[in-house]
Amino acid sequence: MTWGYVLRRLAMFVVVLWGAVTINFIVPRLAPGDPTAAVLEQLAARGQQSAGAGDIVAAYRARFGLDDPILLQYWRYVSNTFRLDLGTSISYFPQSVSGSILMALPWTIVLLGVATVIAFGVGSLLGALLAWPGSPRAVKALAPLLMVLSAIPYYLLALIVLYLLAIWTGIFPLGGAFSGQAPSFTPAGLLDLADHAFLPALSIVLAGVGFWALGMRGAMIGVLGEDFLTLGEAKGLPPGKVFFGYAMRNALLPQVTSLAIALGTAASGSVLVEVAFNYPGIGYLLYNALRASDYFLVQGIAFFLVLTVAVAVLALDLVYPLLDPRIRRQ
């Protein structure tokens, strides 16, 4: 993997983040009734109620400098954001936006990460089997079910899962990430965490697995016509080796590319799943921020969402040459 490749990917990463920040800056100023000014008033009002908050508000006014030329404001905004100084939250006053988000972020990353890995892994395997002529009938019969699942949005699926498995049958907890006041990491506590995480994770997996399966199926069909597959069979290799080493290994390439593209949608969907389950990740934080019109927090969450996805895409881009030797020289 050449430096040129890495630099280009990093450049894209930076451009994506910069684009997100710019949108974050421009949009509120385009809307009628500048929300930023409104938020500052809210901050000031809150500030009068807590001691020492006056300083924060004052610092804020100075920092925002609403009378300064717009480019200067822009510059300040961009540099602040890149330093992860996203402002102060109104609903969690006087805690900073970054602070609130960083408390919730681990929950989201673990849930989203684990569930997406499972969905991608299981989905890809199922998809590959769907396309493979030698697969058992039972597996192929799953195709319509997977198609239906892939059509249903994350949030709606979460509601259905919530109703069926938590409310109606009462097998799993109704929401939250843990019972009691704080999570504990004792064996019992870990079990409790898993118990609470199960339904949200299940929703994300069910919502995503169909999409990955169909994508992999398409990729496999593309590979099935290739000469090297015929030769692999002609060589008398065991069918497992042909399936995994020759077919799937090559079909994974377009599949991983589509993973990078679909991550944004997957992340958005998972965030909404958290809302359905009151799971204390970014989604839940978002819901409350919207209820409280905590504008900075909403913006901050939007930015973090972009950041998370951009990091994941960058990681995938850097991993891709390891999978496809033809890219390595570029």
Partner: protein, 326 residues
């Protein structure tokens, strides 16, 4: 007379296209002795590639084998069960595919692709033995040992084809099927590849069937030539005899259409086009384009008859003429 190594009896392979069946190989019978080289020529759509795939049972639906036997070294390939077939493949019969451009797994190194084959058939081989064998084979085809560590996209066309040759002989099979092994290569490289092929084939004492449409190449390479037209064999002869005195009208036209470096003559093609396998003419499939056409040719399909020692021809006119001579 010893039993032939390869005995194809009455093989028929057809394709289903949109509800109809097209016969790509129609009642084909051939024999080949150990160490012999047979060339099969024909235009595209004559069924020769279908034949190549069918010999290894690599044909995929909608193609299916309708009837016949393929007996190699006493075993009917068509009757083997899946496990036996897997063992049989490559160890008894291997192939050099058409266009090595895409025949090697692009994400795996050359040595892995060769090693997995060895390992699948000879699990008793140690890693060192496998590596040694790979190096040996690469040398035999004139490639440097370092090629083993390369990926397919790092090789030139000729190198890739030679890797395929090395791959084909890795288990020293009794029969090698070379399906248009040089069609994507330029003339200079072609020569190297063909010479390599001939060398290794002789060294391991394998028989070879070379499929193609390059008559010149065939002339330099094979002992016996078979011509296919619309799924049937129409002319089988030793190579020298074939060129000196082609018997079937199609063969004659093929030879006369070859540009000659000696005489200046206008380029002559063969008028007309090969019929679609879905709509074959009645009787002899070649009759619409045949200069010797007779009424009987529209009626009955000519059988492949031995009209002279070691020469079989499927043509009413030729058969008639040879009868008259006797």
């Amino acid at each position: 007379m010893t039993a032939p190594l390869l005995d194809i009896r009455n093989l028929s392979v057809s394709y289903g296209i949109g509800g109809r069946r097209a016969t790509a190989v129609d009642g084909l019978s051939l024999t080949l002795g150990a160490g012999e080289r047979l060339g099969i020529v024909g235009e595209s759509g004559s069924g020769k590639s279908t034949l190549a795939l069918a010999l290894l049972r690599l044909h995929k639906p909608p193609a299916q084998i309708d009837s016949g036997e393929i007996i190699l070294g006493g075993t009917d390939i068509l009757k083997l069960d899946k496990a036996a077939l897997r063992n049989f493949r490559w160890s008894e019969i291997s192939m050099i595919p058409q266009g090595a451009m895409n025949s090697l797994n692009p994400v795996v190194r050359v040595e892995s692709q060769m090693a997995d084959t060895i390992h699948a058939h000879r699990p008793d081989f140690s890693r060192r033995q496998i590596t040694a064998r790979i190096e040996q084979l690469l040398e035999r085809v004139g490639l440097d040992r370092t090629v083993a560590k390369l990926y397919p996209h790092e090789l030139s066309g000729g190198m890739k084809q030679r890797v395929c040759i090395a791959l084909a002989i890795v288990l020293e099979p009794k029969l090698i099927i070379a399906d248009e092994p040089t069609s994507a290569l330029d003339v200079v490289v072609q020569r190297v590849v063909v010479e390599t092929l001939k060398d290794v084939q002789t060294q391991i004492g394998a028989a070879m069937i070379m499929i193609g449409h390059d008559m010149g190449l065939m002339a330099q390479t094979v002992d016996q030539l078979a011509v296919m037209y619309a799924g049937r064999l129409v002319d089988v002869a030793p190579i020298g005899d074939f060129f000196r005195r082609p018997l079937h009208p199609y063969s004659q036209l093929l030879i006369s259409s070859l540009p000659s470096p000696d005489e200046t003559k206008p380029l002559a093609g063969i008028p007309g086009m090969q019929p679609s396998l879905l709509e074959l003419p009645t009787g002899c499939a070649f009759h619409p384009r045949c200069p010797l056409k007779q009424p009987i040719c529209l009626d009955r399909v000519p059988l492949l008859l031995e009209v002279e020692p070691r020469r079989r021809v499927a043509c009413h006119v030729v058969a008639e003429a040879s009868l008259e001579r006797q």
